[in-house]
């Protein structure tokens, strides 16, 4: 455990990522205190540029404060991304473990199923799902989860397939351990490293996916998210550049920090690969 923390801390990108993510999360939690007004409230005149009186980042077409919108938007975005990722991971691990361990026809069926999902353009699928099932938080989470679990299942399946033939697993079989016990205590703990790395990157993709859906108007109509603000800014791009720039920067910074954390996790958990990847 200590070796892992040490290794992670050696990665500058990872540290930066953690700090930035921490700040964003902090903003999400304290939004209510720092910005007491609701983001839907009209607080000022419309189209006010940044650094005007009472509107740090400007206001939108109706006079709503952009800074407030970004702060509250972080809550929705982080929540949706986290929940959908957790669901994806649970589904992915279960499906991948069963396919990898039992092999044979179970595996063939599952692989066919996964391949089906990977043939369909995933963003399109998400759009179609949310559109037809009517947009709200639940359908967005559902759509993102549906689209995100196949790659993870593939990963877990590969790990299980390789570990299953490892000698310590065979030794456990010879010792008389039951299959469930072997899956849970022998194989699963040893296959978690790539899952953890993936988890970080999956949250990042979920954020990108969610904001793209909101941009197209497919987000929950009661929630202001970063994508939503950018979507609204399209028609007034010329006149209110701050409406599109700042929320976008928020997305960029959050996703980047998650990617950096993912990379640092990967380097810390796979030291052999990391040494080969770069010398710094």
């Amino acid at each position: 455990m200590n070796a892992f923390i040490q290794s992670f801390c050696r990665n500058k990108g990872g540290i930066i990522g953690l700090i930035v993510l921490g700040l964003v999360t902090l903003m999400a939690i304290t939004a209510g205190w720092i910005f007491p007004d609701s983001p839907w409230d009209i607080v000022n005149g419309p189209f006010m540029p940044p650094l005007s009186d009472g509107a740090l980042l400007g206001t939108d077409t109706l006079g709503r404060d952009i800074a407030t919108g970004i702060a509250y938007g972080s809550r929705v975005t982080l929540l949706l991304a986290a929940v959908s990722t957790v669901v994806s991971i649970l589904v992915g691990i279960t499906v991948g473990a069963l396919a990898g361990f039992y092999g044979g026809r179970v595996d063939q069926a599952i692989v066919g199923f996964i391949e089906l999902f990977q043939t369909i353009p995933s963003f399109f699928l998400a759009v179609v799902l949310v559109a037809i099932l009517t947009p709200n938080m639940a359908t967005v989470i559902f759509a993102i989860a549906v689209v995100s679990w196949p790659p993870l299942a593939r990963l877990v399946r590969a790990e299980f397939m390789s570990l299953k033939n490892r000698e310590f697993v065979q030794a456990a079989m010879l010792a008389g351990q039951s299959n469930i016990r072997i899956i849970l205590t022998q194989i699963l703990p040893n296959s978690l490293s790539p899952v953890i790395v993936s988890g970080s990157l999956m949250i990042a993709s979920a954020i990108l996916l969610e904001s793209a859906l909101s941009f197209l108007g497919l987000g929950d109509p009661n929630a202001i998210t970063w994508g939503y603000i950018i979507g609204m800014s399209r028609s007034v791009l010329r006149d209110a550049w701050w409406m599109s720039v700042f929320p976008g920067v928020a997305i960029l910074v959050t996703v980047l920090s998650l990617n950096l954390i993912g990379e640092a996790l990967n380097d810390a958990l796979n030291p052999k690969l990391a040494r080969r990847r770069a010398t710094q």
Partner: protein, 325 residues
């Protein structure tokens, strides 16, 4: 040759199954959604009257049992009848065919850009691993990878069209200009530049990182040592031995990304008002014209299926170890 035709036959069957699944999915999704399927198919734009909906119900046989409806629907799909758009007063198939060329132009340009730029940048980064050039390229890749597609488009428009006024912000070609031949091509190219760049940027980052990682990994393998032991110059070793092997996984991955490119075109075409099937889908989305939306979805999947088959064939050509199965 026999192996190739056997392989193709195999894949066609598999692909047909995939498309069947998608068609079934479309069918059941409409019926699983809240609300009246007839209204959904008519386009809930509110402008459709009750008579139309009744006519629709009868035409689609929505009052008949499900298996009958399913058979009817599948038969239509097989003959490429994807429904009718009451909003646009045209068959879905014709609408799609009309808009398809623009999307193909956009995605192919974006793909070519992403692949060429990505591979060169990735190679350059790998050659300078650990040094300044590598850090710059890797950082830029990370930024491009973390940036939302639709936002990049808007920012590029903001910079190049609104502020600098170098490039047009919208559309396929200048309206009313009536150009022909080379002048027309140049005009289209000017309009194509920003959208292609936007769509390609994310994938350029993906390919750059993949190429870099692949080259570094391959460079560690024994046969590279053997090549060096022969007295070949470092340059020859990299180009002739490392690169050819390192690009194999990139080819595979590029094929897998086809779905992502098509999905991305939905966003890019919306931002740039590019008249492709992505834009068509977005308008259908806004107008609640779900027949069109589902039709585009089906065609997009069809394109991905075809691309996958092509990629598989290309890969077996590139890697002599793989036999067509």
């Amino acid at each position: 040759m026999k192996a190739v035709s056997k392989f193709l036959a195999n894949r066609v069957v598999k692909s047909a199954l995939v498309l069947l699944m998608i068609a079934l999915f479309n069918f059941f999704l409409v019926r699983a959604a809240p609300g009246d399927p007839a209204e959904i198919l008519a386009g809930q734009s509110g402008a459709v009257d009750a008579e139309f909906i009744e006519k629709l119900r009868q035409e689609f046989g929505l009052d008949k049992p499900i298996p009958v409806q399913l058979g009817h629907y599948l038969k239509n799909v097989a003959t490429f009848d994807l429904g009718y758009s009451y909003r646009q007063q045209a068959s879905v198939s014709s609408l799609i065919l009309q808009h398809l060329p623009a999307t193909l132009l956009l995605t192919l340009s974006a793909f070519a850009f992403a692949l060429l730029a990505g591979i060169s940048l990735g190679t350059q980064a790998a050659l300078r691993v650990g040094k300044w050039g590598d850090t710059v390229i890797t950082t830029l890749s990370m930024l491009a990878y973390a940036t939302p597609l639709f936002w990049v488009g808007l920012m590029l428009v903001l910079l190049f069209s609104v502020n600098l006024e170098w490039l047009p912000a919208f559309g396929y070609e200048s309206v009313g200009a009536d150009l022909t031949g080379m002048a027309r091509m140049a005009d289209v190219a000017k309009h194509l530049l920003l959208p292609a760049l936007t769509l390609g940027m994310f994938y350029m980052a993906v390919y750059a990182r993949l190429t870099r990682a692949s080259i570094l990994e391959i460079s560690q393998l024994d046969f590279v040592k053997t090549a060096r032991a022969k007295g070949l110059s470092e340059r020859t070793v990299i180009v002739r031995h490392v690169l050819r092997n390192a690009l194999l996984p990139v080819i595979t991955y590029a094929g897998i990304q086809a779905g992502g490119l098509i999905g991305g075109s939905l966003l890019v075409e919306t931002v740039f008002a590019w008249p492709g099937i992505g834009r068509l889908a977005f308008d259908a989305l806004v107008q609640r014209d779900y027949s069109v939306l589902l039709g585009v979805f089906f065609v997009a999947s069809l394109i991905v299926v075809v691309v996958n088959i092509v990629t598989d064939i290309l890969y077996t050509v590139a890697d002599p170890r793989i036999e067509l199965k």
